[in-house]
């Protein structure tokens, strides 16, 4: 648990940023989720397989949004670590779509060029999307190589890569879809990530 979490979970919370009162409406509108139904039972965080990697447990993200603490919510690692596995929505008594909230927060943080809580996760998503734009499909090898170069980490995981290449788990030559030029138009003007 880090300081942020401790602050939120124990005792009174002293907030050093100004709340933004429009923020929660913005998230509600973008995500189509009525997160005020949440009664903070924390079932979501208890079941989340990734909660230990997050700076705030999932329901605290809802709390931050409710309180209008935009900077904290957008800058959290939680919104990037969330893998959208929906374990939480299966357990939530109020059927809150947590993954949709996280999606919206990531999108807002990109639109507003906020500080990214987990730059490596974003770097990975970028490489996946670049691969889709290039071929119409994803090539794992292409994504991994470029991701490793971008994050200056080329030789970490070398053994895993080698194992996969020899077992032909990584496609060396990606297949390109036929209508690729037209397909690329889907990505036009979409470079805020």
């Amino acid at each position: 648990m880090d300081n942020n979490q401790r602050k939120l979970l124990s005792g009174p919370v002293y907030i050093d940023t100004k709340p933004n009162h429009l923020f929660s409406a913005e998230v509600a509108q973008k995500s189509h989720v009525d997160f005020n139904l949440c009664y903070h039972c924390r079932c979501c965080g208890n079941g989340c397989p990734f909660v230990e990697m997050m700076d705030f447990p999932p329901n605290s993200i809802i709390r931050l949004v409710q309180l209008g603490l935009k900077k904290e919510a957008l800058g959290s690692s939680t919104i990037w670590i969330c893998a959208g596995c929906h374990t939480c929505s299966m357990q939530c008594p109020m059927a809150i779509d947590m993954a949709a909230i996280m999606d919206s927060l990531r999108q807002i943080s990109l639109e507003e060029k906020a500080k990214i809580g987990e730059p490596d996760v974003l770097a990975f998503h970028k490489e996946v999307l670049n691969s889709i734009e290039r071929y119409g499909r994803t090539s794992k090898l292409d994504i991994m190589l470029r991701y490793k170069i971008k994050t200056r980490n080329l030789f970490s995981d070398f053994n895993v890569g080698l194992k996969m290449i020899t077992k032909r788990k990584l496609n060396l030559i990606p297949s390109i879809i036929k209508g690729i030029e037209k397909f690329k138009e889907l990505f036009k003007g979409k470079r805020n990530w």
Partner: protein, 282 residues
């Protein structure tokens, strides 16, 4: 031999089945052939957007998913092999059915009407939709297995009225003489893309899953997701892991195709000693 169904089905393999997981793809195709489904690969299918598109841009994610719906002929069902692709395409499909705003966007983007009669099938639904005689399947010789669903049966709330298939793999495989073992990690997520970004943390998670399976006495793990299969295999670092099978590999064998050395050699955790011990391969 099981009863033959003789049904044409469009097939969306998705990037991980279409490429990196080709041994599962081959077994899925042979299983479907054995039970009489004629799979016709969706012509020029494209990536569903994976976990990345919806993370950064809702419109892009919607377009990537619906492009595939737009090119699918509505005259036959569309089988989607990968649970993650299925979720993306079905979620888009449900939005199109229920929300005029999305429908308009779709029709403007793809210049055609949305086909609400298009059926989208999960791999489990395909099996569930036919009435074939499991009793006639080849036997798995008391192989002890745990079913690993990962996050594939989890759904966002707007899909909560979809069927739930917990226990499905246990039912099918035990009818054919497999012995299901209960365990605690059946629906624990494999780590998905975090396996690339946070390998150490995911290794820890995967090791827990593997250890959980070994501790209850399972001889193998069965999954129906390529991503789970791969993450468990490449990220597991514990000594003497047990092999992992894609459900389609076992089904293909059960319905009459042989298990071949060449397809098994693509597994990172060697399944051959187990298969030999069980007399499933010579």
């Amino acid at each position: 031999m099981p009863n033959k169904a003789n049904i044409d089905v469009s097939y969306f393999p998705g990037c991980s089945m279409g490429a990196s997981g080709n041994e599962s793809n081959a077994s899925l195709l042979s299983f479907c052939k054995n039970i009489g489904f004629n799979l016709i690969e969706l012509k020029d299918w494209s990536c569903c957007g994976s976990s990345s598109a919806h993370s950064v841009d809702a419109e892009l994610a919607f377009n990537l998913a619906t492009r595939n719906l737009a090119i699918a002929p509505s005259t036959r069902p569309l089988l989607i092999a990968c649970p993650n692709c299925l979720l993306r395409l079905r979620q888009a499909y449900i939005k199109l059915k229920n929300d005029k705003e999305y429908l308009e966007k779709y029709e403007k983007k793809w210049g055609k009407r949305f086909e609400p009669n298009l059926e989208i099938w999960h791999f489990f639904e395909l099996i569930d939709n036919v009435d074939f005689n499991l009793e006639k399947f080849r036997k798995l010789n008391n192989i002890k297995f745990v079913s690993y669903y990962g996050c594939m049966l989890n759904r966002p709330p707007d899909m909560r009225y979809e069927k739930n298939y917990y226990g499905f793999m246990e039912r099918i495989l035990s009818t054919a003489g497999g012995i299901p073992v209960r365990w605690s990690y059946a629906s624990r997520c494999c780590g998905t893309f975090l396996a690339a970004v946070r390998p150490e943390a995911v290794t820890e998670m995967v090791n827990k899953i593997m250890k959980g399976a070994i501790d209850v006495g399972a001889e193998c793990i069965v999954t129906a997701c390529m991503m789970c299969h791969m993450n468990l295999e490449i990220r597991c670092t514990i000594k003497r892991p047990i092999p992992i099978f894609h459900l389609s590999e076992l089904l293909s064998f059960m319905s009459g195709s042989p298990i071949t050395h060449s397809s098994m050699s693509k597994h990172i955790i060697d399944p051959m000693p187990l298969l030999r011990a069980k007399g499933l391969i010579r």
